[in-house]
Subunit: 156 residues, 2 copies
């Protein structure tokens, strides 16, 4: 693993990692939804304006996937990540509209070394996306499995 | 709404709706992950073969998104869907590999008419994806908001 890699030992309860911000365009919203979630209010401007949302909104899966990309760019991409067993909660609290900018943070809520497998541990985290009005647009509570830092890698 | 539309009243506890099956290719796995989850074991064949997974596996978000598309094709696409407040659980129980075929079903677990808004209700459901070996690859427990059937639409 290269220098700067995140290992299990680098996560601690209360840790908040800012992941930056990301805007989304109508083109991106429609492209994702056309492939994975072609409900009228995600892909059809006219149908969306007649819906309770008033305009095209992002698929919740798209919002989560955009947040995932930000977690990978800042944390998982240079880490000992061994994948995830799953999520404990997702809440889509505000529609994500074209032109919205999401500011995302990763908050560590629990860590537990594996008792059966000494080479790894589980990190629980909450990912929060605020829109440009400061409203919570999406919250994800999930788990990730991480390898422990090898002894020769300068474990203090 | 057109004939055959799913309204809130069409869901009941214990209902199981088969959504068919869907195979996934390495090209699709890499394309999704390149955009949203570029961890080495999702996008890089060599890195993946050195990982605990042994070969490229689908991003969990990709698996969920593929399942979503199947739910839209069979249910939500012709429904009074008003979006979703969120999910209560996701479990990625088996890696999804190139060439795997997922057989997906939608199981209604609870229904509740809104007390404050007489035009809608919430449906809780479990979506289950089995792979071609009959193993549960992914389970999603979530909610959807649906409009109630209009009186003039033949509400019995």
């Amino acid at each position: 693993m290269k220098k700067g890699t995140w290992y299990f030992e680098d996560f601690y309860v209360g840790q908040e990692i800012p992941l930056g911000c990301r805007s989304v365009t109508e083109e991106e919203i429609v492209a994702f939804a056309t492939q994975f979630d072609p409900q009228p209010f995600h892909v059809d401007r006219d149908a969306a304006s007649a819906s309770i949302f008033g305009e095209v909104i992002a698929s919740g899966w798209h919002t989560c996937s955009m947040m995932m990309r930000m977690v990978v760019d800042s944390v998982l991409g240079a880490s000992s990540s061994m994948g995830s067993p799953g999520l404990d909660k997702v809440r889509w609290q505000q529609p994500v509209r074209a032109g919205d900018t999401l500011t995302v943070s990763y908050i560590t809520t629990a860590v537990k070394a594996s008792s059966s497998r000494p080479d790894r541990g589980v990190v629980w985290s909450t990912w929060q996306a605020l829109n440009q009005r400061g409203e919570v647009a999406c919250i994800i509570e999930g788990m990730g499995m991480f390898g422990r830092r090898p002894k020769e890698d300068g474990d203090a």
